[in-house]
Structure formats: structure tokens, C-alpha cells
């Protein structure tokens, strides 16, 4: 019986520690998950609208490696969205790449200037060759002023 109790204790500790999913909130601490949408749903909406207020759930592809002040999230089919944070008031952990995030803000199709593209490459520790190769503004999806982010 003693052995069974020891086994039960070990199972109990392991299963509990594996089961806890940490959810971190950045920016607006009152952010809720109500009404969250997938990347596909967002793309469908933006096919007929210029912009839309969303709570987008997507995987984080990359993050600013200087201070966590922007991130690219995956919209599927090699499409990405650039996310920046309202008024520089909050950033995200630099080691959160590949995690799932929910981002609240106004999503739209944006034009990213050459200066901004170079700045993002510098922040991502890209090579000088890559930075110098940028010469044209880029049209891309963005949330330029996210008000809150949840990272799962």
C-alpha cells in the first residue's frame, strides 16, 4: 500500500506540473478573449474592409531582439502581420517566438517605409547585406497600435 501511495503522489505532482498553462498579459490588463478570431477569419474580413478592430489569435514568428517592441505573427500561406504596441507603452518577451498570442487592435493593410523595414531588420540582427537590399516600400498587414496582448 505504501508503494501505491508513493506512485500516486509522484503521478499527482507530474500531472499537475504539466497541466498548468501560463497565460501572460501585456498592455491592457483588462483584455478579454471574447470575440477572438483566427488569421483566416481576419483575412476574410480584410478582403472586403480597409480596417477592422480585432482580437487576433496567431503564432508569433519573430520578435524584436533589441527590446521586444514589435513582432511578426503568422497569418498562414507565408503571409505575416507586423504588430507594434500603442504609444510604446508595453513590449513582449523576446523569447516568445513560436508561442500563440492574442492581439487586440486595429488591423489593416499598411505601407511599410524603407526606413521602417531597415529598422526592423536591424532589430532582428539581420546582416548588413540584407538591410542594404531593401529599396522599396512594402505593402503588408499590420496592427500598428495594439492595445493588449495575451501570450499562451
Amino acid at each position: 500500500m505504501k508503494y501505491i501511495i508513493h506512485i500516486a503522489l509522484v503521478i499527482s505532482i507530474i500531472s499537475c506540473s504539466n497541466n498548468i498553462q501560463e497565460k501572460q498579459i501585456f498592455g491592457d490588463q483588462n483584455i478579454t478573449e471574447e470575440g477572438k478570431v483566427s488569421a483566416l477569419e481576419l483575412l476574410n474580413t480584410l478582403a472586403s474592409k480597409d480596417s477592422v478592430q480585432v482580437k487576433l489569435v496567431a503564432k508569433i514568428n519573430s520578435i524584436c531582439q533589441k527590446k521586444g517592441c514589435w513582432m511578426y505573427v503568422d497569418l498562414g500561406d507565408t503571409t505575416e502581420m507586423l504588430v507594434r504596441f500603442k504609444d510604446y507603452e508595453f513590449f513582449v518577451p523576446m523569447d516568445a517566438t513560436d508561442k500563440i498570442a492574442m492581439i487586440e487592435g486595429m488591423a489593416k493593410v499598411d505601407t511599410l517605409s524603407v526606413e521602417w523595414q531597415k529598422h526592423l531588420k536591424e532589430d532582428a540582427n539581420a546582416s548588413q547585406e540584407e538591410i542594404d537590399a531593401i529599396s522599396e516600400p512594402k505593402i503588408m498587414y499590420s496592427i500598428a497600435e495594439a492595445t493588449g496582448v495575451i501570450i499562451y
Binding site: A8, I20, K23, I25, K66, F90
Partner: protein, 148 residues
């Protein structure tokens, strides 16, 4: 007795694990840690916003009798632009940043000597010009400091 302990463990396991999501609030601005220079710049932003709110909304207020800010604190903060440790340790290597910092500090001194709207906006403008070279992300926020 042992049976009771066994069942107790089972019950604790079931109820203890039923709550699977742990929420963590991150009140701090940067979970990666802010550099000294970033903190100085945030302090300068707050100083400048306080000056703007008080100086340009109350006609009785002058730069020397502000209630919301101690001018000495503002001076210490702008002088710290030359000494604080930056996020990017390569920032000071070529001397370019120091020149922009000097231009901004001189315009701040100029504003303290003559607190006109023109000199105030020139100080904000010099802050933005430096950010255009080194850190684009904060520009939208700094633009809110301009006064009409």
C-alpha cells in the same frame, strides 16, 4: 489510515489539476528589462508632458514656477543622455548619437532660457530627429508632445 491518505491524494490531484490556466499580469513596460537610457528617455517624456500641460494651459505659469515638475530633475535627466547605458551598446561608438544628444540638450537649455512655444517645439523636434536615426518606434508617442 493508508487507504484514507491514498483517497485524499486522488481527490487533491483531481481538484488541484482542474484549474489549468494561470494568468500572469505584466504591469511593467518591458518584460525584457529597460536600459538606463530608455528609463531616462521615458522620464524626459513625462517631464516634457508635464511642462506642456502646465506652461501652455495656464497663463500665470512660467518656466520657473511650475508645480508639476522640478526643473532641476529635467536638467539631470537631459544631461544623463550622455552617461546612461543604452539598450544597444554600439550606440555611442561612432559619435553620431552624441551629436544628436548635444543638439537636443542645447535646445532644452534654450527653451529654459526662453520658454516660447517655438523653442518648446524645437526641443521636441530635435528629440524626434534623433529617434529618426536610432529608434523609430517611439516617434508616434513623442509627436504627441508638440504644442500648437
Amino acid at each position: 489510515m493508508l487507504k484514507k491518505i491514498f483517497f485524499l491524494i486522488i481527490i487533491i490531484t483531481i481538484f488541484g489539476c482542474s484549474s489549468t490556466t494561470k494568468e500572469c499580469e505584466n504591469i511593467q513596460i518591458n518584460p525584457n528589462g529597460e536600459s538606463e537610457l530608455a528609463l531616462v528617455m521615458r522620464a524626459l517624456y513625462t517631464n516634457t508632458l508635464d511642462i506642456k500641460k502646465e506652461l501652455f494651459t495656464n497663463t500665470d505659469t512660467t518656466i520657473t514656477n511650475l508645480n508639476s515638475i522640478n526643473l532641476e530633475e529635467f536638467k539631470i535627466n537631459y544631461n544623463a543622455l550622455h552617461t546612461s547605458k543604452p539598450t544597444d551598446l554600439n550606440l555611442r561608438i561612432d559619435g553620431k548619437y552624441e551629436k544628436f544628444a548635444d543638439t537636443y540638450i542645447n535646445s532644452s537649455k534654450n527653451f529654459i532660457n526662453n520658454s516660447s512655444k517655438e523653442n518648446y517645439n524645437s526641443m521636441v523636434n530635435n528629440c524626434i530627429q534623433c529617434h529618426e536615426q536610432f529608434c523609430l518606434g517611439a516617434i508616434k508617442k513623442i509627436q504627441k508632445l508638440y504644442t500648437k
